[in-house]
């Protein structure tokens, strides 16, 4: 019983969106395009404008300037209830006075769909989100994860052209969060619906989205597929926000940088100063026991297949390095070690004052 896929997946376009609330700038000229059927995650620290952007697409906020386009049509001034956008909220938003079927059938009811027909649709959607047997339950009889599933079914009930997810998993506990995010991804693929997913959890964004848009201070920092974002971050902010990144002092020599006694090619733009910070991922550092060296292990954290070491270098910089757990077994906090980068191009950033 798969509901028919959305007839036409929409293209969504943000053009130069600006919005200030009092003295704070929520959006500072956001330009972004979401391709039809794509799941795009808006990622960023709190206050970066990601939720404001989503709410503008939903019709709950109006930009000071700029426009929102769906399939080329300007919808900036279209009221929320005529936007054709289904939304799942961060807080539990089911109507407490309606059971699951009536919650899901709420949209069709507003569109004057007949009772039998809308109940049939609702049952189908509840089946899709795996709650086919919970139709007569009221929201307070469901767990948080189940409530968000119903909320997803409700958002899909009007066959919207765009699906908006506003941190739908953040109120749930870790395990439910994992299963539900896979579920969301499966359903999104199945229906081929253009989806915007706001989150501040980078792992969530990287694991579910086709592309991730990293935002900071109301602007877009980078929008790229997860692997590219992680492997080739466009800016130091993206590099440090996505995944774990250590800053190690280095010195520029033309197109190369000297770090930890090694010379590595510089990836992308280099700052004007000679003294820079080199950005290195934990998996790009090798750590070997060496009694003569002045770098020392400060802490170890067991992560399963790998173990993360925190190492203090001679100049007191702390770096993170991931080792296969069987290799790390020989090392302990307090051991003297040598740290060396893997031979590959690295990102450099200006050293903070």
């Amino acid at each position: 019983m798969t509901p028919t896929p959305t007839p036409t997946a929409a293209t969504v376009e943000f053009r130069g969106l600006r919005r200030t609330f009092g003295t704070t700038t929520a959006l500072d000229g956001l330009d972004l395009t979401v391709a039809p059927g794509e799941l795009l995650a808006l990622l960023g620290p709190s206050g970066c404008g990601k939720t404001t952007a989503l709410r503008m697409l939903a019709g709950f906020e109006t930009p000071d300037s700029g426009s929102v386009l769906v399939d080329g049509r300007d919808v900036t001034r279209v009221p929320a209830h005529r936007r054709d956008a289904g939304m799942v909220f961060q807080s539990y938003s089911l109507f407490p006075h309606l059971d699951c079927v009536d919650n899901v059938a709420f949209g069709p009811r507003m569109r004057k769909t007949g009772r039998a027909e809308r109940h049939r649709q609702a049952a189908e959607l509840l089946e899709l989100v795996g709650l086919g047997d919970k139709g007569d339950r009221y929201p307070h009889q469901l767990s948080g994860g189940q409530q968000q599933r119903v909320a997803l079914a409700r958002a899909l009930a009007l066959r919207p052209r765009v699906l908006l997810l506003d941190e739908p998993l953040s109120a749930l506990d870790a395990k439910v969060r994992l299963t539900l995010r896979d579920e969301i991804r499966r359903i999104q693929r199945e229906l081929g619906i253009t989806t915007l997913f706001v989150t501040h959890d980078q792992e969530e964004a990287l694991s579910t989205a086709d592309r991730v848009a990293v935002m900071r201070g109301g602007r877009l920092e980078q929008c790229a597929p997860p692997a590219e974002l992680y492997g080739r971050p466009a800016t130091a902010f993206v590099a440090e926000f996505v995944g774990t990144m250590s800053r190690i002092p280095g010195r520029l020599h033309g197109g190369t940088v000297e770090v930890l006694g090694h010379r590595l090619p510089v990836d992308g733009e280099a700052p004007a100063a000679r003294e820079v910070d080199v950005l290195v991922r934990p998996e790009d550092l090798r750590v070997t026991a060496d009694g003569a060296c002045s770098a020392r292990i400060v802490a170890t954290a067991f992560l399963g297949a790998t173990t993360r070491l925190t190492v203090r270098l001679a100049d007191a910089t702390e770096v993170k390095a991931d080792l296969p757990t069987h290799e790390a077994a020989a090392l302990a906090a307090g051991d003297a070690v040598t740290v060396a980068p893997r031979e590959r191009p690295v990102l450099v950033a200006a050293r903070p004052a």
Partner: protein, 281 residues
């Protein structure tokens, strides 16, 4: 009653018993006074006489009509205002709360003096305008609209508090936005998504307004109208036993009405308040 100290356990029934006595003894005494006539034994004469007394039914019906109209006015005024306040201008809430509490501070005597002045001033200055007829209609003794308006003001503090408590228990903004993203216009979102979850608060506001209107004496008496409370006082002067019987009866009438309202607004399985947990993992 796990976790309570023995002292608390003993105190609870004691306090309940004392409070019960405080309320029930005068009531019981009243009832006994009305049915136990010296020399004649047990008789319900006082009660049967009420029905026949002139003005009983008209004044009771007038009071009920006034109560219904006041409840309608208060809710129509307050509900949209309270919701709009919550959605659009949460900072104005203290202001509105202060304004709604004003009627508590103004004594009914002062209030009625003000109304009286306006009612006198109006016809004198507006006799040649259509507003004159409005002033006349306001004071129609069969259904004095002016009382409805006055009672609506007097009920504001209670109704506002009841509504505010109800609104606090639901996440109005999210409910409205959820309804709107499901295709409901602003008004429909309010009616279909918010109001059903305020059922308890609406009932409370209606209860309090009803109780206020049925018992109100000062304003009605001073403006020269004759709803139930005024009628009770009028008859009680001449016939002691019957006047107490009427008081007992009016208490019963109020209780029955409150029970009926509660029954009409009965609980549905889903009418619990929404959980509005906001997670920050």
């Amino acid at each position: 009653m796990a976790g309570l100290t023995p002292l608390t356990r003993a105190w609870r029934p004691a306090v309940l018993g004392l409070a019960g006595l405080y309320f029930l003894v005068p009531l019981a005494a009243s009832v006994v006074f009305t049915v136990d006539v010296p020399g004649r034994g047990l008789t319900f004469d006082a009660y049967t006489r009420i029905i026949g007394t002139e003005g009983f039914l008209t004044s009771l019906l007038l009071s009920l009509g006034l109560a219904a109209a006041t409840i309608a006015v208060v809710l129509l005024l307050l509900v949209p205002a309270a919701v709009a306040l919550r959605l659009g201008a949460p900072r104005l809430r203290p202001v509105v709360e202060a304004v709604c509490s004003l009627p508590l501070v103004v004594p009914p005597i002062a209030f009625v003096a003000g109304i009286g002045t306006v009612l006198k001033w109006g016809p004198e200055h507006l006799s040649r305008t259509p507003l004159f007829q409005t002033f006349v209609a306001l004071q129609n003794p069969d259904f004095p609209v002016v009382l409805v308006l006055a009672y609506a003001v007097m009920a504001l503090p209670f109704a506002h508090r009841a509504l505010d408590a109800g609104l606090r228990a639901v996440d109005v903004r999210t409910l409205v936005e959820a309804a709107r993203s499901c295709g409901a216009g602003p008004v429909r979102a309010l009616v279909t998504a918010v109001l059903p979850n305020l059922r308890g608060a609406l009932m409370n506001a209606a209860f309090l307004t009803l109780a206020l209107v049925l018992g109100e004496y000062t304003v009605a008496q001073l403006l020269g109208f004759r709803p139930f409370a005024v009628w009770i006082v009028n008859v009680s002067g001449s016939q002691a036993q019957m006047s107490v019987a009427v008081s007992v009866l009016s208490l019963l009438v109020t209780w029955v009405l409150l029970l009926a309202l509660a029954g009409a607004g009965g609980r549905t399985p889903g009418a619990r308040r929404a959980r509005t947990a906001k997670g920050t993992p």
